[in-house]
């Protein structure tokens, strides 16, 4: 089954071509939806088969490569178009195809009646094709192919409703912003690849990581490579400097946000960091940078999430914050924990977005949570699944969120230090608070929508079935990674499964200072207690007496505004980077430099010659005598020269 892996990318490509080229003619939405979802479903089965087959193999033989064709061999560069099937890529493929399939099914319901239906499914399939390339790639260039491919699909899907307004501008402006910010990240990634090629003379994962582990390379080169790769990761996974595009990505339809901006694409950065773990491990300084950036992003995004009133915006900032957690885990060396969180996050965040989608669907495209309220009785299934996901994300023990988040907090404390754990716990508390604020404002409390033209209704089965499956996964998902402290060494199956991938990186890192179990249990209880208290406080405030929220926000007016406007980061970028470049190049580069300066010289020379010809021609006065005079002047000069040269 493993060497059929190329089908998992070929099928989505076929899906894209069929829907893309003949979609308009097929017209029947059922058929298009079927084609779209079937290709992903079959791919999922193939990946599952490969997963099971790899499980059967002994540990050393679990990573094998499927070669397709030689892509680029020029001089020292030998790039083959090949797929690497090992524990890490299989895990990610399972997430991508699994969650992808559910979202495809969901979208059949959600997008019904939309005239661009066929286009939507074509783009979704293209996205899965690109994502699978990214995840299965055997070398950095194929990974980069997938990397930019997903960037393109996110551009297409964010700007899907190209004629709709979105906040100040249009959806296509948001799409452009996403693509450009991603491109800035890719710029860093490209430079990282060049440096890798220069130092290791290859871009193939196996060779690069083997050489990285073996021969001595200066610490600084590793640092630079890691830094460049991390810049690429921040671009793609929306971390501190380049996170501005993710909130705007909510301009796209909700299944898009679920698939791309929650489950798969944004985790590409985390996947890349953990794939190149050996490089990051050999640059401890950059490891701390990754951890700190992850932590700050988590805290900052969570704080913004507190005050957002658009349901999708709240979830978007929550995604940014959870991604911060994953990078925190990677930064402190717990690579398997970060991938574990990727998986659990994929389940409950996709569920939350799809839940939000069905709420919006039911509320006739109304996204402001202040206009919801009391939807519990109108949408029982959606409410139930949404509530489970909220429990999971808040880290309530027993659900998947708790296991992955606790693993991260514990390794943050073990390797990063108490401060890391403290900020992590506070962010967890904030997460719990704003999630339950969202739930209570939406499903509890009095109904704040006007009844005569808004009749909330439950979504059709096609949409609720995926919700239920995801809810089950959110609950069950955590049990494959039980904490060692309670269930002994092999409790954490997930870590065992990924352990061979990170072995070289691990022995480079000095990890796990000796910490007693007691500390772990103590910290775990403290963080859980904090989360639960935040939950009750949120329920208390937003279910019964919302005016408490009002007077808090009035009291801290300035701080509230700061959070509402997202720390004015967008405005800062606009003023500091976009405007100067645009105005500068328009006013100075084009109008002055190009037109006036260079063209000025060119036309200047031409007119100089023109005017001088106008002047010189005046010598021809027309009178024969003056001609004779000038001839005599010429002769006199010649004779003078003759005498002088004697």
């Amino acid at each position: 089954m493993i060497n059929l892996i190329y089908l998992t990318t070929l099928l989505p490509l076929l899906g894209f071509l069929i829907n893309g080229l003949f979609g308009r003619k097929i017209k029947n939405e059922k058929v298009i939806g079927l084609i779209g979802s079937a290709t992903i479903g079959i791919s999922f089965l193939i990946v599952l088969g490969a997963f099971i087959q790899t499980l059967g193999l002994p540990i050393e033989e679990r990573s094998n490569t499927v070669n397709l064709f030689p892509w680029l061999n020029v001089g020292g560069l030998q790039i083959k178009f090949a797929y690497l099937v090992d524990q890490l890529s299989l895990t990610m493929s399972l997430i991508v195809t699994g969650v992808g399939f559910l979202i495809h099914v969901y979208s059949i319901g959600y997008m019904r009646g939309d005239k661009g239906f066929w286009r939507f499914f074509a783009y979704l399939n293209l996205f899965i094709f690109a994502m699978m390339n990214l995840v299965l790639g055997d070398n950095f260039v194929v990974l980069f192919l997938g990397w930019e491919g997903v960037g393109l699909c996110s551009y297409l899907l964010i700007g899907f409703w190209y004629d709709r307004k979105f906040e100040k501008g249009t959806t296509s402006q948001a799409a452009k912003k996403a693509f450009v910010v991603n491109r800035i990240g890719d710029f860093g990634f490209l430079l990282g690849m060049f440096l890798i090629f220069m130092t290791f003379d290859s871009l193939n994962f196996k060779e690069v990581f083997a050489r990285a582990a073996s021969f001595p390379v200066a610490e600084s080169t590793f640092g630079l490579i890691a830094l460049f790769l991390f810049i690429g990761a921040t671009g793609k996974s929306a971390q501190i400097p380049l996170f501005v595009w993710l909130p705007d990505a909510m301009a796209g339809p909700t299944p898009v946000s679920a698939l791309i901006h929650a489950a798969t694409m944004v985790t590409a950065g985390v996947y890349m960091v953990s794939r190149a773990s050996i490089i990051f491990a050999s640059a401890p300084v950059i490891m701390t940078v990754v951890a700190v950036v992850g932590l700050l992003t988590a805290l900052m995004a969570a704080s913004i999430g507190l005050v957002q009133n658009d349901i999708k915006k709240v979830l978007a900032y929550s995604t940014v914050s959870q991604l911060g957690y994953m990078f925190l885990a990677a930064g402190v060396g717990a690579f398997s924990a970060s991938i574990f969180h990727v998986m659990t996050h994929a389940f409950f965040k996709a569920l939350l977005f799809l839940g939000a989608g069905s709420v919006i669907h039911g509320m006739y495209d109304e996204q402001n949570i202040q206009k919801y309220g009391g939807l519990k009785k109108y949408m029982p299934k959606t409410f139930l699944t949404f509530f489970i996901a909220t429990l999971a994300i808040s880290g309530v023990p027993g659900l998947s969120g708790f296991f992955s988040k606790d693993e991260i907090l514990w390794s943050a404390y073990a390797n990063g230090g108490f401060v890391f754990w403290l900020i992590g716990a506070i962010t967890a508390m904030l997460t719990a608070f704003y999630m339950f604020r969202l739930v209570s404002l939406t499903f509890y409390g009095k109904e704040r929508f006007d009844h005569h033209n808004v009749h909330p209704h439950e979504s059709p089965a096609l949409m609720t079935v995926p919700l239920i499956i995801l809810a089950v996964l959110s609950v069950v998902g955590g049990y494959i990674g039980l904490p060692k402290v309670f269930f002994g060494e092999h409790g954490n199956l997930f870590e065992g499964w990924l352990e061979p991938i990170y072995a070289p990186a691990m022995n480079k890192l000095s990890l796990y200072g000796e910490h007693t179990h007691l500390e772990e249990i103590l910290l775990m209880t403290v963080s859980v207690a904090a989360a639960l208290s935040a939950i009750f406080f949120a329920l208390h405030v937003y279910r019964k007496n919302p005016q408490i929220a009002e007077n808090i926000s009035n009291k801290f007016k300035g701080f509230y505004n700061l959070l509402l406007n997202k720390y004015f980061v967008d405005e800062a970028y606009e003023a500091a980077v976009v405007q100067p470049i645009q105005k500068g190049s328009e006013k100075f580069l084009w109008k002055i430099f190009d037109v006036k300066f260079i063209d000025g010289i060119v036309n200047g020379v031409a007119s100089l010659v023109e005017n001088s010809s106008g002047v010189i021609r005046k010598i021809q006065t027309g009178i024969a005598q003056s001609y004779a005079l000038i001839m005599m002047a010429g002769i006199a000069l010649v004779l003078l020269w003759l005498i002088l040269s004697l």
Partner: protein
């Protein structure tokens, strides 16, 4: 050989030549300008004759005959042109003959 050294003749003819050139540059009347050109040619003749006598061979003198015939031909043609101009524009003053300029 005559007693007068060759240089005297040469200086005389050079001087005559300069007078001719000055006449061409200064006088405004076409006919007078033409006469000055004839003067220049004759000064050249004088030089030729001087060299011929002092060098002892007759090539110079033969040359003078040709120069004189050419000068005559030029005179004929030149005056015809000046008459044609006079018939057209009733003037022979060179300053007024300047349709073509710049």
């Amino acid at each position: 050989m005559s007693l007068i050294p060759m240089e005297y003749y040469l200086i005389l003819s050079a001087f005559m030549f300069c007078v001719g050139v000055a006449g061409v540059l200064i006088r405004r009347n076409a006919i007078v300008v033409f006469m000055c050109i004839e003067l220049m040619l004759n000064s050249a003749n004088l030089t030729l004759v001087t060299f011929s006598s002092y060098l002892g061979n007759s090539i110079g003198q033969v040359f003078v005959f040709f120069v004189m015939t050419v000068a005559a031909a030029e005179a004929a043609v030149g005056l015809a042109i000046i008459i044609a101009i006079f018939r057209n524009k009733k003037t022979v003053n060179i300053d007024e003959i300047n349709i073509f300029k710049w």
